[in-house]
């Protein structure tokens, strides 16, 4: 009896003191992931969660429709290259920032010039390094002067590049740096934008709250916001996320483990959907011999490795729903990603033959480096062992592995790459084969094709160059592409939004059923 009274009291107290709960009833959509968000500014917080929030909160110059992958006007209404390196954009009139100020050319020039500056500490240099400077032509026209022809510029100007009001970073705090010097902490400034939702509360590492912008401009390709409030919460533990989802404390989670997906899909109040992502899993083999004399320099050994791994089993049984086998060193949704390349079907017998041909009839032992998802790495190692390749696994934190990669020390590394969400092959293939610190292939021909592709504005010509490069990469088996990560989403089935293949959650398109 006493216990019952106690429990009753506790439950009353819980009801009385709980904050607003999630759900349709109070028009609050709560989503949770395990990441801690340190900066709400996308330029300084390069995380998927920040990108998701930024799409809802901010507008960029160009919008890429997540369903069709077509570009649509957002803050810019028209754009054109006036010569090889000059991009002129006409801007939308009558748009207001969430702080009430008017949007115009000054704001675009300010934002882009700020982040493109070499000392901006901006985290994704790739999307700004092409900008030389940005000029105001008139109140609603800007001119971007590129350092070189940049065919991927439109991609860079989409959702990953929100526009802030002029003077936005003036309040950035001055904080102590090394040796008694100070530095400006730009990322500490909360973003002010023009998007369909307004940032109303941000607690670093804990939560981020967006509310509907009642004055969002008509005619935006993002449509008008439908949900009253969108709340992000960090919940580290996946079991806890599931418990919250099941009881309605949270409306959306991702990364549901395969063993839980089935259980959740049986729940009457939930919907479970899987989709692929842009994160590639692959082996980087030291074909160039950066580590010294290694078996990886032999093409037959590299082909043997490719034949030794059952990538289909890996993708389907281990990684699970949403995952897909990867044949080429790029993500199929990316522009220029050639998928019609040499394939290496699972054939351990052939792998052994190739090894014998290369002079390793009894296999060999090699150091093997990895940093993420140990079970996937272990599975790959088992396949290699089966054909006689013994490995000495060094499983490290990224911060420890990266210097080894840069320092010519990894003969074989099991790596992953998310292309920073860019839908252009320059962000994947371009990253690994242009003699940068991550390039263990060092093929001059491939490098030149890729360099040419990055400054060719003619789309067909560009595609052709990427195709040539990717075919050669596969032919020579420089790297062993394994699979694309999948993601399983589980959410309140009263909520409706398009689940897309870009590892994004376009919540601003969501509504209650």
């Amino acid at each position: 009896m006493k216990l019952k009274t106690l429990l009753c009291a506790a439950s009353l107290a819980a009801i009385a003191s709980s904050p607003a709960v999630a759900g349709k009833a109070d028009d609050t959509f709560t989503w949770a992931t395990s990441t801690e968000v340190g900066s709400a500014d996308l330029f300084y917080g390069n995380q998927r969660e920040v990108l998701i929030a930024a799409y809802a909160q901010c507008d960029s110059l160009i919008y890429r429709d997540p369903m069709t992958n077509e570009y649509a006007p957002l803050l810019a209404t028209e754009w054109a290259w006036t010569d090889d390196t000059t991009l002129e954009l006409k801007l939308r009139e009558g748009v207001k920032f969430h702080d009430g100020s008017d949007f115009g050319a000054e704001d675009v020039a300010y934002t882009l010039n700020h982040i493109a500056a070499p000392d901006s500490d901006m985290q994704i240099r790739l999307i700004v390094d092409w900008i030389d400077n940005v000029e105001v032509v008139d109140d609603y026209t800007v001119r971007i002067n590129a350092k070189a022809p940049t065919p991927a510029a439109f991609e860079y100007l989409t959702g990953t590049m929100p526009i802030y009001p002029s003077g936005h970073y003036d309040d950035a705090p001055e904080v102590p740096g090394a040796e008694g010097k100070t530095r400006r902490d730009w990322g500490a400034v909360e973003p002010v934008c023009t998007g369909p939702y307004m940032l109303t509360d941000f607690v670093p590492g804990e939560s981020l709250t967006l509310e509907k912008n009642p004055d969002y401009f008509e005619g935006s390709p993002k449509g008008q916001p439908q949900i009253g409030r969108i709340v992000y919460r960090t919940i580290k533990d996946p079991e806890t996320q599931i418990a919250e989802l099941v009881t309605g404390g949270v409306d959306w989670i991702w990364g549901v483990p395969p063993e839980n997906a089935e259980m959740l899909s049986d729940m009457p109040n939930l919907e479970v959907v899987s989709a692929s992502t842009m994160r590639m899993s692959f082996l980087a083999l030291d074909a160039a011999g950066r580590t010294g004399d290694t078996p990886m320099k032999d093409e037959r050994v590299r082909r043997a490795i490719a034949h030794a791994i059952d990538r289909e089993a890996l993708s389907e049984s281990l990684v699970g729903a949403g995952s897909a086998v990867l044949d080429s060193m790029c993500v199929p949704v990316q522009f220029g990603c050639e998928t019609d390349v040499a394939e290496y079907p699972y054939d351990p017998e052939k792998a052994r033959e190739l090894l014998a041909e290369a002079g390793y009839p009894d296999g060999f032992t090699t150091p093997f480096y990895a940093y993420r998802d140990r079970p996937y790495t272990e599975a790959v190692l088992n396949y290699l062992r089966a054909v006689g390749i013994e490995t000495d696994l060094q499983f490290l934190q990224w911060g420890a592995l990266r210097p080894l990669i840069v320092g010519d020390q990894t003969q074989v590394a099991h790596l992953t790459w998310g292309s920073n969400g860019m839908l252009d092959a320059s962000a994947s293939t371009g990253h690994y084969f242009q003699f940068g610190p991550d390039d263990y292939a060092r093929d001059e021909e491939v490098r030149d094709w890729l360099a040419e592709a990055e400054k060719t504005v003619d789309l067909e010509k560009r595609e052709e160059l990427y195709s040539k490069a990717l075919k050669k990469i596969a032919e020579k088996a420089y790297y062993t592409p394994l699979f694309l990560y999948g993601r399983t989403y589980a959410f309140n089935n009263e909520f409706e939004y398009p689940v897309t293949d870009d590892e994004m959650a376009h919540f601003y398109l969501g509504r209650w059923k």
């Binding site: 102590p176 919460r233 418990a243 940068g436």
Partner: protein, 305 residues
């Protein structure tokens, strides 16, 4: 006594200094902090820029002295990741861990001392067996499993307690029980054995012979002596809890310092790691000192020696 306190204080400071040096070295030797901070997609130039900005290119001893100099001026630095001053972050997160630690220890003491006393008074009875069972279960059950079990029963099935977060006192009920239960077996077994020894001692027999009420004998003449080692143990347990329970805090999504330390190590947020270590080392040292002083107050024999 004063000399004793001063000696202990000097020792405390030495312990803290050594801890901070070791921690500093470990963080720097376990990988390039600049690479971890710059993130996965960073180019070599990005990493070099981070190294420059945060001064990682200097000799490690210079970096340490630079940090130490600032700490001595009360400047704990800034979390590069959370983009807040470390002092601010700790002010936000310490109360969560302190509330959890104190509540968990209170739960552990309230459960284990009465049970330990009862088991000692009636050895080899049902109550003693129950206490033993509870101790074994508490020791054997991993805390995450117990926490998830609680969450399932009270959060998912009955839906009477909130599952995650720390916005009200109700949110602390399950985490405190989960964390406190872990400390229960040790405290209970110590209380039981202490009580059994004391109850057989001459002065208790004398007190009984005087015809004092049984409760007075148990509490005043028995427990008071038996509890001396329990106080030391409880202090150590509290120190452990104030260090933050990474597992309990992350399961219940409580933003305390244990969880913060874990996350900070993952992202090489060195100034946060250093500050948390200072706090934890200090808490341990101070609590141990307090326990000794409290014991001295409870037991005149310690005071005299």
């Amino acid at each position: 006594m004063l000399l004793y306190v001063l000696k202990r204080l000097a020792m405390t400071i030495l312990v803290i200094a050594v801890t901070s040096v070791v921690a500093f070295l470990l963080v720097h030797l376990s990988g390039d902090p600049a690479a971890a901070m710059a993130g996965e997609g960073a180019s070599a130039a990005d990493i070099a820029a981070v190294r420059e900005t945060f001064g990682f290119n200097r000799p490690i001893i210079v970096q340490y002295l630079d940090w130490l100099g600032r700490v001595l001026q009360g400047e704990f630095g800034r979390s590069y990741y959370l983009r807040m001053d470390v002092g601010e972050v700790l002010a936000e997160r310490m109360p969560v861990t302190a509330t959890l630690g104190v509540a968990a220890l209170s739960f552990a003491l309230l459960l284990s001392i009465p049970l330990g006393v009862a088991a000692a008074l009636k050895p080899n009875t049902l109550i003693d067996r129950f206490a033993l069972w509870l101790a074994v279960a508490g020791q054997a059950l991993p805390s995450f499993l117990f926490a998830l079990g609680l969450m399932y029963v009270f959060g998912v099935y009955f839906r009477i307690l909130p599952i995650s977060g720390g916005t009200s006192w109700v949110h602390f009920i399950m985490p405190s029980i989960a964390l406190g239960y872990y400390a229960t077996p040790a405290i209970m077994r110590l209380t039981r054995s202490g009580m059994m020894d004391v109850l057989q001692s001459d002065h208790v027999r004398t007190a009984r012979a005087y015809g004092l009420s049984p409760w007075r004998v148990v509490i005043r003449h028995g427990l008071r002596h038996a509890i001396v080692p329990v106080v030391s143990l409880a202090a150590v347990q509290l120190g452990f809890m104030l260090g933050g329970s990474i597992i309990i805090e992350s399961i219940f999504s409580l933003k305390g310092i244990g969880y913060l330390a874990w996350e900070s190590i993952q992202r090489a947020d060195i100034e946060v790691i250093q500050a948390i270590l200072l706090v934890i080392a200090t808490a341990y040292a101070v609590l141990t000192l307090l326990a000794d002083l409290l014991n001295a107050a409870l037991d005149p024999r310690i005071r005299i020696s």
